[in-house]
């Protein structure tokens, strides 16, 4: 194949054919940003649809099936409806922060998408502190939620926002530590290199027991990070109505909503990359065809997304103090123990490699 999957260089080369180098670089950024925006606006919408369909199947329902074949255009129609809706707000809201909050949330989740290698070299931004960058970026979203809850001037929204703050600060720790456990195994933070390491077996196999524990902790903490049930204290519709986005309507509400789903995708994508070999096919069956990596990457990610949906539609919600008990009394000590265990295993060369 002549066309390189490295999209950045491909586009830069194409653009520098008729413009200066600096302009070409800027042009590349704009083009890639637009591509990512478009892809993930659509992907977010279809994640919403998937969630609704999966929920329906868990709940003995049919799910959306009116707009388009099998309801495939349902979320498009919803998005159109939301765009056309009036943007309401409370009278005494802090207008500037109130309007700023949704963008904080959506921008932070879109930024995180840039670093994922969808297949070999198909990556917009291969930074050498990739995992670190992801952890850092994913924490910014909570500022948007806090701002939104505070600026709405609504008590329910404020309670939701405060819960969100507490929750994210706590669970950020577990997400970080469980990923660090895996970094011990890979020796690198760069996502493309993490995948290279896994050519000798996915990390969840290489690291066996501690890796499985790390994966479980990561999935629990990741679900909490996205504010989804059973950790949806922030919205908790039977307690707070709608939580922090009570006062948002129209497209501003849709940004919060989309961000939640893209965050879910990110959490699952990180798990895919770190634990399940990213775009690598099982046993290397399709190694000769690199573009199939996209299929494997998306497939694995969606399996994990499905797992998170399965959690959501099965479990009751935790109470806010139990949420903290779980993190500080169970996940965090386990995580620290797990790091030591992983270090021992790496030190004693007890990893499983093919």
């Amino acid at each position: 194949m002549n066309i390189s999957l490295n999209i950045t260089t491909t586009i830069t080369e194409f653009l520098s054919g008729f413009m200066s180098e600096g302009a070409a670089n800027i042009g590349t950024m704009v083009v890639i940003a637009l591509i990512y925006l478009a892809i993930f606006a659509v992907a977010g919408l279809y994640l919403v649809l998937l969630e609704r369909k999966v929920a329906a199947w868990f709940q003995l329902r049919l799910g959306p099936n009116r707009v388009g074949p099998w309801g495939l255009l349902q979320t498009m129609a919803d998005a159109l409806k939301l765009v056309s809706k009036e943007l309401t707000g409370t009278v005494k809201a802090d207008k500037f922060l109130y309007n700023l909050a949704p963008y904080f949330v959506i921008v932070s989740s879109l930024m995180a998408l840039a670093v994922f290698p969808f297949t070999k070299e198909f990556q917009a931004f291969d930074i050498n502190i990739g995992l670190f960058f992801l952890i850092a970026i994913s924490s910014i979203g909570v500022i948007g939620i806090l701002l939104g809850g505070w600026a709405s001037n609504n008590k329910f929204a404020l309670i939701g926002a405060m819960r969100s703050g507490v929750q994210t600060i706590s669970y950020e720790l577990s997400v970080g530590l469980s990923l660090i456990t895996m970094v011990l195994l890979t020796g690198t933070l760069q996502l493309s290199e993490i995948i290279e390491v896994q050519k000798n077996g996915w990390l969840i196999v290489q690291g066996h027991i501690p890796a499985i524990i790390a994966f479980m902790i990561y999935m629990i903490a990741g679900t909490a990070e996205t504010n989804r049930a059973p950790f949806d204290m922030v919205e908790a519709e039977s307690e707070l109505g709608a939580g922090f986005h009570t006062e948002y309507s129209g497209m501003k509400f849709a940004y919060f909503f989309l961000a939640e789903f893209i965050n879910m995708f990110i959490i699952a994508a990180v798990a895919t990359t770190v634990f399940f070999g990213g775009w690598l096919s099982p046993f290397g069956i399709t190694e000769s065809i690199p573009w199939l990596g996209v299929f494997w990457f998306i497939g694995k990610t969606f399996m994990l997304v499905f797992l998170m949906m399965w959690f959501r539609w099965t479990f009751p919600r935790l109470r806010v103090d139990q949420l903290l008990t779980l993190e500080w009394k169970y996940l965090l000590p386990l995580n620290l123990l797990n790091i030591i265990l992983m270090a021992l295993i790496v030190w004693l060369n007890l990893t499983i490699q093919f």
């Binding site: 199947w57 003995l60 329902r61 049919l62 099965t314 479990f315 386990l334």
Partner: protein, 158 residues
């Protein structure tokens, strides 16, 4: 250690819970419990005792069985039924007798308790199984049950 025992036990209970929903997810193809309502109008059949609205059946000669005795009107708890009647000359016997002019039924006030139908001595009114009673204007919920030009069926009053 109970600390780790609790964790294992907890995870186990979570997995049992997931097995229930998982089972339904896998068998979801068998069919949903919900119905595709406006699409299944043809096959959707209500039970014969279903209380949709009160109707007055007429036979092919446009004859009903209502004698205008007003027992339904008295039985109704909500004032749903109003009977307008007067004394007219019966064409057969030539005598003056009580006949209904209009049997008015306010569907909007009806609570479907069925006391009127129980009270009716001549079975003139029955339940219909129609349940699609929504209309755009409240006034169209007021119905006249006897058809225009209809008359009392012979032999009902005996």
């Amino acid at each position: 250690m109970s600390y780790f025992g609790d964790i294992v036990k907890g995870i186990k209970t979570l997995l049992t819970g997931m097995s229930v929903t998982g089972k339904y997810f896998i068998t979801s193809r068998k069919g949903a419990i919900t119905q595709q309502y406006p699409d299944n109008r043809e096959t959707l059949k209500m039970f014969e005792r279903f209380r949709g609205e009160v109707v007055m059946p007429h036979d092919e000669n446009n004859e009903h069985r209502c004698t205008g005795c007003q027992k339904c009107e008295i039985a109704c708890p909500n004032g749903t039924i109003e009977i307008i009647w007067d004394r007219q000359i019966d064409p057969e016997s030539g005598k003056k007798k009580k006949m209904i002019d209009q049997h008015i039924y306010h569907l909007g006030m009806c609570t479907m308790c069925g006391l009127c139908i129980e009270a009716c001595p001549t079975d003139a009114i029955v339940w219909a199984q129609n349940f699609e009673n929504s209309v755009y204007d409240r006034s169209s919920l007021t119905k006249v049950l006897n058809q225009p030009g209809s008359k009392l069926k012979a032999g009902v009053e005996e």
